[in-house]
């Protein structure tokens, strides 16, 4: 009798483990929405000659799936959005935005040295904005905020609108 009850009780709480559920989907979706919104306030100057708007991601991250979902039905400045995943820093090619997930095993310096003008770097690891990425997601009081490194933005030769910067936590 006890065993039967145990089975019922565990079923209540554990059933959805069988059902596919993306862990951290709200946070990943939120970050992807932020990234898409950033594009409305950033001027890539002349560095975006390609026909598509390229968002590169170095490594694996649940944010990739969210970005792909956005890419299905949305555009940036009338250009189709393309998501490219790089497995390691050597594979990095030009992209308008390079997203560096927190789980990346590569040291930040090895990633940053592969970036050029026109590539806006966005990360989600504490201290990364101070270390050189242009934007960095942080969670404060349970809400998603972002840090901005003005020097890194200048080096990428990309202009961020003041409406965006006034929402950011300026780090440098």
């Amino acid at each position: 009798m006890g065993l039967k009850r145990l089975w019922f009780a565990l079923m209540l709480c554990c059933f959805a483990v069988i059902v596919h559920a993306q862990p951290g989907e709200q946070e990943a979706n939120l970050k992807a929405a932020f990234i898409y919104n950033f594009t409305k306030y950033i001027d890539w100057n002349q560095h975006d000659n390609a026909n598509t708007f390229i968002i590169g991601v170095i490594g694996a991250s649940p944010v990739i799936a969210s970005l792909k979902e956005i890419a299905e039905t949305n555009t940036v400045e009338s250009k189709k959005i393309e998501i490219r995943v790089f497995d390691n820093p050597d594979q990095i090619e030009f992209c308008n935005i390079l997203f560096i997930p927190e789980t990346t095993p590569y040291p930040l310096s090895s990633i940053l040295e592969k970036t050029n003008k026109g590539m806006l770097t966005i990360s989600e690891e504490p201290e990364f904005a101070r270390k050189g990425t242009a934007f960095n997601f942080v969670i404060k009081n349970g809400k998603l905020k972002f840090e901005a490194n003005l020097k890194a933005l200048g080096q990428a030769d990309v202009k961020a609108g003041s409406q965006l910067l006034k929402l950011a936590i300026i780090v440098n």
Binding site: F15, V17, G142
Partner: protein
């Protein structure tokens, strides 16, 4: 079909459509998120386990944290009910007002191996080194978190933190502004009501005041009749937080309470009253150095209704300083002085001699956290040295190694020594059969119980939404209290408390938090525990080396928090406690369900069903009074916040 199985099936089907909707929700989430502006996006609360376990990742010990969200989700009405949520604690309800709570075994109504603190104020009685849970009431809404550390905390927290430390931390008054009012009643809850108001005096001073009361229902005797142990408790209090300078915070809190617990179901109940005051000054000199100075006064009175009375006045002053000596050394040290004025009014044949005794406790501790390999390997060494009125000096050292191979994993090991110093019952207690003829007594030779603990643990956060921890321990005990028979036949009295039991206990504590979806969080744990005690040579313990304890071998707790559409919430707590050996209590499953609804920002309605699976069940059989059973119950509560 049995009622309980019916209920479970209904609940399963209630939940099923939600699981099927999970995938669909993800898609509509993204589309609706994109409609929001950046400002709106920045206002959304992010769900992940890491914000709660930030500190936990650093902790090289077996710590579980019961958060305010956990307490709210569970429908717990009192502090002991909330403690059930920590799977590394043995929590058993004995009757309407008494609980047996311990960590790592040795559980008993008079459990004495756990240190319990409320905002740094120790809440134990030196009468038997245990806690009267009926007077430890905190407004649950104002609890920020409860830190439950299983394992010896002697080096930091002092004696009596042998098996664990519970630290109840309430919110700053900065976080409790406005009105809070709640009222509830139910099938076994004649009533509960609380009112709290928080505000600010000026830019630097915030405060809150509260008044609360409850009338808890009775349990029943094993023969089915009412146990008449229902009881009432009222309390009020005040807290003030003052940011004197950007680096200095002074917190002032006090409360007063009075209640009538009646565990024996007598015509005259016990009267339990008290008041306390705590003042705390925290100064953060820099990011690398801070100190805290705390003073508290605690006055408790317990009148047992038969002439036996206990009045305790505690004066405690505590200083702690933390300073980062260099990049590699973080030193914490402190000192404490406590006076316990313990005044017992004895019965002619039962009491503590002398009736009134002043107990003095002086202690100092120091701890160094050394970064052997920066961010990877940390060695912590510390010790507390204490002087108490019974055994003079006690030394409790502790060494801990924490290895963090990746940012998301910690492996730790620790060796510690802790002591449980004698309490009044061990030394000063005598119960007589007739004047001059003692039949149970303490002994002036009773020494401290000692523990040497070996622990090994692993904590990992494999993803942003999953955090798992495993702790194992091997505890070696010596000089555990025994009841030694005396010389006078035929009953071999007086029975004298001795230190005749030794042995070991070992076990493993697993716990985890899993945020499955943005609207579903699971948290839980499992504990395995085994004890192997024996008599020391020369001991003829009348309790046969059981150390007056009754512990389950297995237990688990699973909590589920579901956020439903239309501002509904659904909370589930399932617990399983294995059988208790002696006195025998069969194993049981407990199921608590809560449905909450917030029709508006200011109003919340809750319906809570507790102990759903059995009409009645027993959790612990005390030496006295008689065994009681807890009944299945349901209650409703209305809450206003504005």
């Amino acid at each position: 079909m049995l009622l309980q199985n019916k209920v479970l099936l209904i609940l399963f089907f209630l939940n099923a459509p939600l699981f099927l909707c999970a995938q669909k929700n993800a898609r509509s989430d993204m589309a609706s998120l994109l409609k929001l502006s950046l400002e709106d996006l920045m206002n959304i609360k992010v769900t992940s386990v890491s914000k709660n376990s930030e500190k936990l990742e650093e902790a090289a010990s077996a710590i579980q944290v019961i958060t305010q969200a956990d307490i709210h989700n569970s429908g717990a009405k009192t502090l002991p009910e909330a403690l059930r949520l920590a799977s590394n604690l043995q929590v058993a309800q004995v009757n309407s007002s008494q609980w047996a709570i311990s960590a790592r075994g040795f559980n008993n109504v008079l459990a004495n191996k756990l240190l319990v603190l409320i905002n740094g104020r120790a809440v134990y009685t030196p009468m038997y080194a245990g806690v009267f849970w009926d007077v430890q009431n905190v407004l649950l809404e104002d609890i920020d978190r409860i830190e439950v550390i299983s394992g010896p905390g002697g080096a930091l927290w002092g004696s009596n933190a042998v098996n664990g430390v519970i630290n109840v931390i309430t919110k700053s008054s900065k976080d409790t502004k406005g009105f809070y009012a709640e009222a509830g009643a139910g099938s076994n809850l004649p009533g509960t009501a609380s009112l709290r108001y928080g505000g600010k005096l000026n830019d630097k001073i915030t405060y809150r005041m509260f008044g609360a009361g409850f009338h808890l229902g009775n349990t029943q005797l094993t023969n089915g009749s009412k146990a008449n142990d229902e009881w009432t408790m009222g309390r009020a209090g005040l807290r003030m937080d003052w940011d004197v300078t950007p680096k200095d915070l002074i917190t002032f809190e006090g409360s007063i309470y009075s209640g009538r617990p009646n565990p024996d179901g007598n015509d005259t109940s016990i009267i339990a009253r008290g008041d306390n005051l705590t003042v705390r000054w925290s100064h953060s000199a820099s990011a690398r150095s801070d100190f805290q100075l705390q003073f508290y006064y605690d006055h408790t009175l317990r009148n047992f209704g038969n002439g036996f009375k206990e009045v305790l006045k505690t004066y405690d002053i505590d200083w702690q300083n933390r300073v980062a000596l260099s990049d590699r050394h973080e030193v914490t040290y402190g000192a404490n002085f406590r006076i316990m004025d313990h005044n017992v009014t004895n019965l002619p044949l039962f009491g503590f001699f002398p009736g009134r005794k002043d107990l003095y406790l002086y202690s100092a501790f120091a701890q160094d956290k050394i970064a052997l390999i920066k961010d990877r390997l940390r060695f912590t060494i510390g010790a507390k040295i204490e002087h108490n009125s019974y055994t003079d000096f006690e030394f409790q050292p502790n060494a801990r190694l924490a290895f963090t191979p990746t940012k998301k994993q910690t492996i730790w090991a620790a060796v510690s020594q802790a002591v449980r110093t004698p309490s009044r019952i061990d030394r000063d207690f005598v119960a007589f059969l007739a004047p001059g003829l003692a039949f149970i007594r303490g002994d002036s030779n009773f020494v401290s119980e000692t523990l040497t603990a070996y622990e090994l643990g692993w904590r990992i956060q494999p993803s942003k939404n999953l955090s798992v921890s495993a702790s194992s321990f091997y505890n070696v005990y010596d000089n555990i209290r025994s009841a030694e028979p005396g010389p006078i036949p035929p009953f071999n009295i007086p029975i004298t408390f001795g230190n005749g039991v030794k042995g070991a206990s070992y076990g493993i504590e697993l716990s985890g938090i899993y945020q499955l979806t943005s609207w579903w969080n699971l948290k839980g744990g499992y504990t395995f525990f085994k004890k192997d005690l024996s008599l020391k040579s020369g001991s003829k313990d009348a309790n046969n080396a059981t150390a007056e304890s009754d512990d389950p071998q297995h237990q688990f707790v699973i909590q589920s928090k579901v956020i439903l559409p239309a501002r509904f919430e659904f909370g589930t707590v399932i617990r399983y406690i294995d059988k208790l050996p002696k006195p025998y209590v069969p194993s049981y499953f407990g199921l608590d369900l809560r449905v909450g609804w917030r029709p508006s920002k200011a109003i919340e309605l809750n319906l809570v069903a507790q102990n759903l699976l059995d009409k009645y069940h027993s959790e612990f059989i005390p030496a006295s009074p008689s065994a009681r059973e807890i009944e299945r119950s349901i209650y409703g509560k209305v809450t206003c916040r504005f």
